[in-house]
Amino acid sequence: MGAATAARPAGAASAASTKTASAVYAERFANVCAACHGANGRSDMAGTPVLAGQHSLYAITQLFLFREGRRTNEAMVALAKPMTDADLRGFSDFIGTLAPVPTQAAPPDAARMSKGQALAQQHKCVFCHGSTLDGGQGVPRIGGQKEDYVRATLLGFKKGERPGYTRAMTEALSQVPVEDLDLLAYFVANVGVDK
């Protein structure tokens, strides 16, 4: 149903070539991405986002923004610059196949979690990201994302430094006080841990 699958060709011939492509990009992911992001899409490296469970349409959008130099991160821009359209599609399709990997962190503080959940409701995060923050299509899965990365991302949107296709996140955060961001990041990172 998603736009990501929509543009993909159908038919037996292209299914065969897709198979080859998926093997190719599984290998390239292992060689190019895994060192920082982890072979299964979750690493311990600070500031490096979890890719496990991320949606391919969101992933391709971010790779595109890196390639265009619209989203800034030196390492990612350098990696994305030489990528062809087929590369963007191949990497993001592969990322879309990575199953979510839960964090190994200790069970979170229940009081902070319930405050954080109230904030996520109040600031309407669940409006687009869904009640379990798993997103869908162009909306990223943020539940279980690393806390430091979520905090930095929220701050980046709030300051207007992190671009998207639209200013939706910057506008959504415009009225969220900075002091709420820590608790939001804590909640988002630990969603689904306390069971």
Partner: protein
Amino acid sequence: MHQRRLVSLVMALPLVFACASASAQEAEPGWAKGRPKTDTAMKMAPVPAFPIPTAAADLPTAKLKLPPGFKVETWASGVLDARELRQGDKGNIFVSTLFVGNKVYVLPEKAVDGKRQPKTIIDKTPYPAGIEFYKGSLFFATNKKIVRYDNVEDKLDNLGEPTAVLTDKLPGGDDHSWKYLRVRDGKLYYNIGAPCNICDPGDFAKIYRMNLDGSGVETIASGVRNTVGFDFDPKSGDLWFTNNGRDWMSEELPNDTLNHVTQPGKQHFGYPYCHQGNIPDPEFGWGKSCDDFAKPAALLGAHAGSLGMKFYTGKMFPKKYQGAMFIAIHGPWNRTKKYNGVYVAWPDGKGGAKVEPFMTGFVENNAYLGRPVDFLVMKDGSLLVSDDHAGAIYRISYAGK
């Protein structure tokens, strides 16, 4: 003392209320206003164009269905986020983009080595949707300003600074802030869409026009939620426009509409009070009557995403289509069952219009293979159609008898 405390309390009250209502509204994007709280609806959000053009060999061109005698071919591929189409006097085809591209391209009329390579003439500019060509000048509108490049076809290698800034006072923002432009009789027509799904729009939700130097701004139509397609009937000179209906009321209502301006500046087309001419808004409709607003000429489908509109002024198509309106139905995002296509509409001479599908086949397994946006009638009478989803431009021609 007692009295002073009372006064300060009274003065503080409106402030408290203002804060309270601001916090109730905060963080909800404009497009999500009025969205029901069910899981299905909560997962629907505007889907931007795919960031990669579909490879030429994978375009849906061969799957598209047209009336007998018509033929569609791929005219250009690899045109990321292709939106509005206009042609210069020297043949150059201008193509704008929206969220993804941040660019305006120019393409040659004639293919070079069997291909038309888009050349970027405006880059790194958010909301670069509004374009119009008139007497050698390119008019270009973002969500914030409208500018003019004179003799544009002589400086395609480097446009430089605009010749004139017509206005830099447009309201900006996200929701419905992108532009559609047409010039008619020395006036530039443009839209300012509602800054939300449903709200009291103030000076938004109107079609305006201005002189070609930016002076003399006038309202042409009010109560227009968002039009991204309008054109003038070559016979009567009247303005017709498509209008995107409100979201979230239900899967099947209200419809997008096709509208006919018969009294420029005097008509109100209903938003936010009345939808599709006969449905009072559940919130803003109280105390209003649909009878007080201009009725649509035709309904175009629920959440259709009716975009570009063009009267067919060519001679290649059969008589039946000469003087008809072609309408690009982009297809819904906030409706479970997807549909889209190119529609055609004929004024019925009584203020209404008859609408039927003209080119379909862009939807497979409830997913879009392509999404039509805008049109250009070529000198030979063929019709170009842009597709922002697949990043392509198609050419429709007629070879029947």
